[in-house]
Symmetry: C2
């Protein structure tokens, strides 16, 4: 079978919610998030529990906007960056919706949408809630250094977004949609030998290029067929590598219609984030706020949303492994 | 919609493979595994890389038995217990099959089969490879203590299985099947307040009871409709709690037709495993060897396979959180 899967029933994305942290709220998209939480502990005792509170709040806000209760939601799909995806699991405990835990690093929002869209398209579930989160403080101390250490960051490093996004999919054709899901391309794990955990853009770009090439070849489409191709989160380094790789592969991207969520979420000039934003929450909050807003405003009619993940762990880094990447893609279109 | 999903096209499980470690090979099922690996490093430099080698070997062996190449496989679904599911991700890098990473702790084998069966049933993929692994040494040092410390274990503790299992699903009705998939019940995260990381059976049993009750209520079935109800891996403690909970809920289990993979994989009298086996690999290797053998021998015609996971992390344990559990169930039947 071709790698790209067509969703014949065009499952509907009926609501989205984005809950952002303080720094994200001060960024260029500050005006479009549902909520901005100034307290990085979100009233909890630890950053990990705070991240779970972001996850839960995004899920609940999304369900409220969609007019659906947790009891009416057939499945929650998603995850986060923490060991054993604790943010998502603890939120799922509170929501008590049947839960499929996913791990795709920063590709999780796309992974959850890909699976959720197929299950909804096939009528296996009526409503699927897809969500992902990350938190700068919990990610830094798990993957890199204690925050108190105040470690210097390299120019290729990205800044993990504090936030969570959730999107509600429905198979009911009578429900008004913000957009519909038409195609899914599942990513392959790709590794070009990058071992620098502070240069994840370079580690992920080859996976993005692989998924994008297969998507174009399967569908007979090219970049011009999309109002926007959205990656998340390659940052400036990965963005530039992807542009170059696609040029080499004979599927050039048009820079004016290619957006990376890691470059949208912060102002790199003033916010000191080096190569851009990252984390599962980055593409999740950009998709669930600004992208859905543009669909509603009629500014875009067809986009490819492709979140990218760097599948590293501290253990593999310490054992000298290179960093595998993965990128899952879903096509979103305006409702006819 | 009801929580239990019927698979109208009855996707086919066409091959399974189980790769076991030395201690597992010395257990009661030693004669039915595809391979027993005596070296706990499997020729690698670390236990984590060894675990990935188990994962890869199970996947490759399963594909060979099914007569399918990696290129013909549309998706690999699965995960393991390690931080950022590194065993599965590194194996997926080598296999280069489109990969959906899952985290369901010890429920992962059932989670991968549930999603794989729905995607195959719906025709979204032609062949889905579902796999899970665990390794005693990598799990002990990640979740508990350095092995060298020689820590005493409590009577309720379980022994993490070293091994990996893989099952190949096909939507092609012309392919001979070991069994077919007919129903899926996705688990809800359930927490009854157990905080002892050495008593995971007690933490997971309520989740198993919740899934089982919903399954019975949705389908109108009871325990007598199954030749076997298989949990994995509650161990002796969780096994007994589940029996009691189901009795209380008015859906009693018949002990002679209820099997827990954690109690099958080791001989508790002679192998010093305390409450039984555990780990993603436990239910994976029992399903992919002994259960499939029994189907082939005509000894069983309908089973409910329900793997259970304890969604704890060292961080949540240190922060005083209780242990949420989850259990996903899939019905397997002999091919008409």
């Amino acid at each position: 079978m071709p790698d790209t899967i067509e969703l014949k029933n065009r499952p509907r994305l009926i609501a989205g919610a984005a809950i952002a942290g303080k720094k994200e709220g001060e960024g260029p998209l500050g005006g479009v998030y549902d909520k901005i939480i100034a307290d990085d502990l979100f009233g909890e005792e630890s950053w990990e529990k705070a991240e779970s509170r972001f996850y839960y709040t995004a899920a609940r806000t999304c369900l409220e906007k969609g007019g659906i209760t947790p009891e009416q939601t057939d499945v929650l799909l998603g995850g986060d960056l923490l060991n054993q995806i604790m943010s998502a699991s603890m939120a799922a405990r509170e929501l008590h919706i049947p839960f499929l835990g996913l791990y795709g690093a920063c590709s999780t929002m796309a992974e959850s949408l890909c699976i959720g869209a197929m299950l909804t398209d096939g009528g296996y579930v009526g409503h699927a809630l897809c969500a992902a989160s990350s938190h700068f403080c919990s990610a830094e101390r798990q993957y890199r250094f204690p925050l108190e250490y105040g470690c210097q960051r390299t120019p290729t490093a990205q800044w993990t977004v504090t936030g969570a996004g959730a999107a509600l999919l429905s198979g009911d054709p009578s429900q008004p949609a913000l957009c519909v899901c038409t195609h899914v391309t599942i990513g392959r794990v790709t590794d070009m030998g990058i071992a620098d955990a502070n240069n994840m853009g370079a580690a992920m770009a080859p996976a993005a290029a692989d998924t994008l090439r297969r998507h174009f070849e399967d569908t007979g489409r090219s970049a011009v067929d999309y109002d926007l191709i959205i990656t998340g989160d390659l940052g400036q380094v990965g963005h530039d590598i992807l542009m170059e790789l696609m040029q080499q592969q004979g599927h050039p991207l048009d820079a004016s219609r290619y957006m990376d969520c890691g470059l949208e979420v912060f102002d790199r000039e003033t916010q000191d984030v080096h190569a851009g934003g990252s984390g599962c929450g980055c593409s999740a909050i950009v998709l669930c706020s600004e992208i859905l807003r543009r669909f509603q405003a009629g500014e875009i009619r067809r986009v490819l949303f492709m979140a990218t993940g760097a599948l590293l762990s501290t253990t593999t880094s310490q054992q000298g492994e290179t960093i595998p990447g993965v990128a899952h893609a879903i096509v979103l279109e305006a409702d006819a």
